[in-house]
């Protein structure tokens, strides 16, 4: 009768003995990371040339090193998201991609940053032309205090993309359509842009970025000032735009990274810790630090 004496009591109790709130011996954020070492798949295959080829990129503000030897390929027409705790360097790294850091005097960028095989930090590089190819959308919607029409038309005008008013009209309409804003604003193109809702303003900024036919769009937390519905619209827009553009998005919302991006890159204290397919990062990340961050163990 007692040949099958179970150890059930011990088993059910085993779980309860575990402290509900465990105190880890060392905090995950204290992990020492080997410089220049990234797990996962930071590089594109040999078959297709990447849009951005970034090698051994370091950035320092004076004596502070904000980016430590990062190498990464950004593929054509992919949406890649940069995630990581505040101060991890993701925005600094993003701003290197169209030399937005140039305006900061103490900021020094080293390493190779190639856009379609061309070094974007070479001294004779035309930065204005670079920024037309690599557009940017910022955290807070920042439309010019002008009409909706003029906001979108400004870029094409200064870059000489339109010769006639009818051409300019066409660019404005197309850009607003792509940004999913046309139907909402077509009857009031002369209205001042700052009177729009936050979500509309952000989509206007995206339309403004699209208007100069960029190849890459950088987005620095584009939805952090928007409500959920406006966020959903911008995210929908990102998915649609990925057919024609390469998109790099910095976000604090991990759910957003999971929803919109093909690949996810995890930054930590200036290191690029892991780059992998988004599917993998959110179900089975390779690096312990990525795991800790996306599961809410620190951040």
């Amino acid at each position: 009768m007692n040949t099958m004496n179970p150890s059930i009591a011990a088993k059910a109790g085993a779980g309860e003995q575990e402290p509900a709130i465990a105190v880890p011996e060392s905090r995950p954020e204290d992990t020492v990371i080997e410089e220049g070492k990234t797990v996962g798949k930071p590089f594109a295959g040999d078959a297709d040339s990447p849009k951005f080829k970034l090698r051994n990129v370091s950035v320092s503000y004076g004596n502070d090193r904000a980016i430590k030897d990062i190498s990464l390929d950004i593929r054509r027409n992919e949406v890649i998201s940069f995630i990581g705790p505040s101060g991890c360097g993701k925005t600094t790294f993003l701003r290197c991609l169209n030399r937005m850091n140039d305006s900061i005097e103490i900021c020094r960028v080293t390493g190779k940053l190639m856009l379609d095989g061309e070094d974007i930090y070479q001294s004779k590089k035309d930065v204005v032309e670079l920024r037309a190819r690599v557009g940017m959308v910022f955290q807070k919607p920042n439309p010019f205090p002008k009409s909706i029409y003029d906001n979108v038309a400004y870029g094409p005008k200064i870059h000489g993309l339109a010769n006639r008013k009818s051409e300019l009209d066409e660019i404005v309409e197309n850009s607003l359509r792509k940004a999913g804003l046309w139907d909402e604003v077509k009857d009031r193109l002369d209205a001042v842009a700052t009177g729009m809702s936050g979500g509309q303003q952000q989509r206007l900024c995206i339309a403004r970025a699209i208007a100069v036919s960029p190849e890459v769009i950088l987005m620095d937390e584009p939805c952090s000032a928007l409500d959920p519905i406006a966020t959903a619209k911008v995210e929908e827009l990102i998915s649609e735009m990925s057919e024609s553009y390469t998109i790099v998005i910095v976000t604090h919302s991990m759910q957003q990274a999971a929803r919109v991006s093909h690949r996810t890159a995890y930054f930590h204290m200036g290191h690029l810790v892991e780059v992998n397919e988004t599917n993998k990062v959110f179900t089975a990340p390779e690096h312990e630090l990525t795991e800790s961050y996306i599961t809410g163990r620190f951040g």
Binding site: T3, I8, K11, E25, R27, E291, R297
Partner: protein, 240 residues
Amino acid sequence: MPKSKDDMYGDHISHQFNDDLANLKNDFLKMGGLVEQQTIDAVNALIDGDGWAADEIRARDRIVDNMEKDLDEEATQLIARRQPAARDLRLVIAVIKMVSDLERVGDEAKKIAKFALTLAEEGHAPRGYVEVRHIANHVTTMLNEALDAFSRLDSTQALKIIREDKRVDEEYQAATRTLLTFMMEDSRNISRCMSVMWVLRALERVGDHACNIAENVIYMVEGEDVRHTPVEEAAKIVGP
């Protein structure tokens, strides 16, 4: 950072999240303990010809069913409110799947209890009981170890259980052959032997469920789905 596997789910910024995951784990283990006990009791009731015990086991299946619903609800709430990711997500998803396995083990125990009752009413039928006892020992040990592997997040032990399942299948086939011989010897044995055959079948299924749980434990720990994968492939994922 070397971290013991015990606090794998316990160091979130949100204490409530820690508690939610710990509760899910503990409730799952409680349900596992109950169905394991149900299976053992059912086999004992069968062998002892104890109809009264068999009745009790069948009544207790209600508790198992309720635990299944409660665990599913807990898991649903966790997904809705916490949006778990990575290993937390794998824990919740694995629990949702393994709960079905436990519930089915409960049903198999209930089935065995039903045959225990029938056989008790028909009088003793010791034929085939040696085989029943043997397989029952084997599969309940597997279930116990599967729950243990879950509790300790031990994928090596989980792999051992998957390997073990093949042996259960062999034992089941051997037992079936033995019972067939009994039936051929004397046709009056057929009805009772058929009942015992169903009990063996139920026990073999318990082994399969233990195996499913083990596969889910490997998924939780290693992040790789090893279902419908040759065991040697699974062994590579688990590592030495």
